[in-house]
């Protein structure tokens, strides 16, 4: 046992020295989280603001002006008034505006008979923006209608919409937990895969093998430093998201850290397995990018909700470990410590961790064949 601790200490010391010599790895642990959190905090927002809007008032009556008055002073719209619909269309084509709201000449006259129309033309290239914009306009028009004399009477169903877990209705809250998942994934899988592959490629393992070192110790010694680098990244994320963007952590911080460590083991395990299979830096790079990084962004629920995808994609998304960790993170950040969910997902992650770390242990043999 004494020998085990001594060797572990030596190997881990070596890893930390190497880390300190090549500052580029610390870039991943420190600079990347900071850069990403700033970009996501300040730059990435699904919340539509100031949509350039062309308003065509072909009917200049007070009623007509009133129905589109919601665009003035709204955070959502940034209106430009134009005189003809054709002019507005040209602006839309040029991407000067993203939406046209047109009040036809007969608006007031038809309103009396209840047949008035409001024409809305959207730029559908950014479909998500178009969708949201349409929603804003529709709800603005219906609330205008409700304010009209005589409206609001009669049997009708009214919608009371409430959003839980995101008081600020801010997409930063949505993205930040995902960011932590991405950073842990990158450091855990990609960086570990390449540093381990480098040992195989440069033949440094051949010399190490003929020492009392056990394969398990080599694997463990690789895990520890990158575990620390990734945790450093997580701490930076937590700190910045708490103090810069005031994203709450509703759930228990301890549970969050515990789960992060479990997930880190999964990621490190995958990285080690990739490197042991490829034994080449070039292939380890390519394959970790393709099987881990890209799927962790797209198939995890980080950006796209898996619940709206075909079953096959949902299954694949659920077989990959990324979404399980992300679900836990989002819950802990925004909705609280939900024991049932965390136990289930955490248990699953633990299984993944045991599987991949176990695979890394069994695949790392002191053989050069």
């Amino acid at each position: 046992m004494n020998g085990f601790l001594r060797r572990m200490k030596a190997l881990i010391h070596k890893e930390f020295l190497q880390l300190s010599r090549d500052s580029s790895s610390l870039l991943l642990g420190i600079a990347l989280p900071i850069a990403l959190i700033l970009i996501i905090g300040y730059g990435i927002s699904l919340d539509i603001r100031n949509i350039p809007t062309a308003v065509v008032l072909e009917d200049a009556s007070p009623k007509a002006q009133d129905v589109v008055s919601f665009v003035n002073g709204s955070a959502y719209f940034s209106p430009t008034y134009v005189t003809s619909f054709r002019e507005a269309e040209a602006m839309l084509l040029n991407r000067d505006v993203r939406v046209i709201i047109d009040v036809p000449p007969d608006f007031t006259s038809k309103l009396a008979t209840g047949e008035a129309t409001l024409r809305v033309v959207l730029d559908g290239v950014e479909a998500a923006t178009a969708m949201s914009t349409q929603g804003y306009i529709e709800s603005a028009v219906s609330s205008w209608l409700l304010r009209q004399p005589g409206a609001g009477s009669g049997a009708r169903i009214a919608l009371e919409s409430r959003m839980w877990y995101n008081d600020a209705n801010s997409s930063t809250w949505f993205f930040l937990p995902g960011l932590i998942m991405i950073i842990v994934t990158i450091i855990g899988i990609m960086l570990t895969a390449i540093v381990m592959a480098r040992e195989w490629e440069r033949g440094t393992f051949e010399s190490l093998f003929v020492t009392p070192v056990r394969p398990m110790e080599l694997v463990l010694a690789k895990i520890v430093p990158y575990f620390c680098v990734a945790l450093l990244g997580v701490f930076i994320c937590l700190f910045l998201s708490r103090f810069l963007f005031e994203v709450p952590v509703v759930g228990s911080l301890a549970v969050l850290l515990g789960l992060t460590m479990i997930y880190l083991m999964v990621a490190l395990g995958i990285g080690l397995v990739i490197s042991t299979v490829t034994k080449s830096q070039f292939l380890a790079c390519q394959s970790s990018m393709l099987v881990s990084f890209l799927p962790s962004v797209v198939l995890s629920g980080f950006v796209f909700d898996l619940r709206s995808t075909p079953v096959v994609v949902q299954i694949i998304g659920n077989v990959l470990p990324f979404s399980h960790y992300l679900t836990c993170l989002r819950s802990l950040f925004l909705s609280g410590t939900n024991a049932g969910l965390l136990l289930k997902q955490g248990g699953l992650l633990l299984l993944y961790g045991v599987f991949f770390i176990g695979a890394a242990f069994t695949m790392t043999r002191k053989k050069v064949e």
Partner: protein, 371 residues
């Protein structure tokens, strides 16, 4: 043999060598084609902001014909399916919290009686704000469903109809927006990494010196290094284009020639950035780190996840150095809007500038980053 012929010949052999070096390695060959196809399909399905058949929970405390009608109206749309019928309000938390449903619809006990009395009957929709995009959509779809349902029930049309047309994408399918983006994004990841590793790998293996000693102009080495990523980029773009066009049936409005011209400049500037990284890196590990550290911000700032116009000004300025931003916009607009080269000329300028600056930096660094 004159200088130009020599130039062409050297170019040809260097390109051939670079392509062979990739092609002869089975693992590399697989990595270029297979993941691209698989991820193309998977991402095509996953990359979607629209609600499709999303699970929701119904809490019907009214147990009336009216409430059943309303639920039927919600379920008749392709947006939602009922995942669970709840018995009491306390259950909402559990299903929403676990992420099993995207929203809960709660119909109060007095729903039917209020309607019968001609009063306004409120219906609560509770959405999961952890995913703001989905939450927003769920409530706006439900609002639309309910207002249509109201109109049908009362037989009275709203005095104002909002007549909406959506250009280039009549059904507001977000997949149409994402698929051209995926063409650019996936090929970028591969091209960037491949060109990033190219010189660093030869440096680590010692073959780069061998080429530097030969009578080869740096331009030739540069072009030789740029050709394989360009080809790989073209292959991947073509595969992804076909998946998007034929499998996901996203209509292609532009001309194929224009499309490939855009792809060329886009891949060229990506290659340039990759080669620059490669020429300043000491080894492949550094390349990987630099690639990740630059690629993720570039992807986030490209406007594929959220529109560039939503970003604050200083970040918008930063996006001018991001080939992804202009590349993706070019691809998307050619693909969906069918714009011509003339209409898009200004979008090419940043790409060409990025390519020119990065390629010349890389070419210079080949010889000057030796000791």
């Amino acid at each position: 043999m004159n200088g130009f012929q020599l130039f062409l010949q050297q170019l040809a052999v260097i390109c051939r060598k670079e392509i062979l070096a990739i092609w002869k390695d089975k693992a590399t060959r697989l990595i270029i084609v297979v993941p691209c196809v698989i991820l193309g399909f998977l991402f095509g399905y996953a990359a979607n902001y629209n609600l499709e058949d999303a699970p929701y929970a119904l809490l019907d405390q009214s147990h009336s014909r009216e409430s059943a009608d309303l639920a039927a109206a919600i379920e008749a749309t392709p947006f939602f399916h009922r995942h669970v019928t709840l018995q009491n309000a306390s259950q909402i938390g559990r299903y929403l919290d676990d992420g099993e449903v995207v929203m809960a619809v709660s119909i109060p006990p007095d729903f039917a009686s209020r309607l019968a009395k001609g009063e306004t009957a409120p219906v609560q929709v509770i959405t999961d704000g952890r995913n703001t995009m989905i939450a927003g959509q769920a409530s706006s779809y439900t609002a639309r469903i309910i207002s249509r349902y109201n109109a049908r029930r009362t037989g009275r049309r709203s005095p104002v109809t909002v007549q909406t047309r959506t250009w280039f994408n009549p059904n507001q399918t977000t997949r149409w927006f994402f698929l051209p983006g995926i063409i650019g994004l996936l090929s970028f990841a591969q091209v960037f990494l491949l060109s990033g590793l190219s010189v660093a790998r030869e440096r680590e293996e010692g073959t780069f010196e061998q080429i530097l000693v030969a009578p080869v102009a740096p331009q030739v080495i540069l072009i030789g290094k740029a050709v394989p990523p360009l080809i790989v980029g073209f292959i991947q773009c073509t595969i992804l284009f076909l998946i998007s066009r034929l499998w996901f049936q996203v209509p292609f409005a532009g001309s194929v020639v224009t499309f490939y011209v855009a792809i060329f400049f886009y891949v060229l500037s990506s290659t340039g950035l990759g080669l620059t990284l490669s020429s300043i890196s000491k080894n492949m590990q550094q390349v990987l780190v630099y690639v990740i550290v630059t690629m993720i911000p570039m992807a986030l700032l490209s406007g594929i996840i959220t529109p560039v116009s939503n970003m604050p000004d200083f970040l918008q300025i930063l996006t001018y150095a991001d080939p992804l931003r202009f590349g993706l916009e070019l691809i998307r607009r050619i693909y969906l809007e069918g714009l011509t080269l003339g209409q898009l000329a200004w979008n090419f300028v940043p790409l060409i500038v990025i390519a020119a600056v990065s390629l010349s930096t890389a070419g210079y660094m080949f010889r000057h980053n030796l000791s």
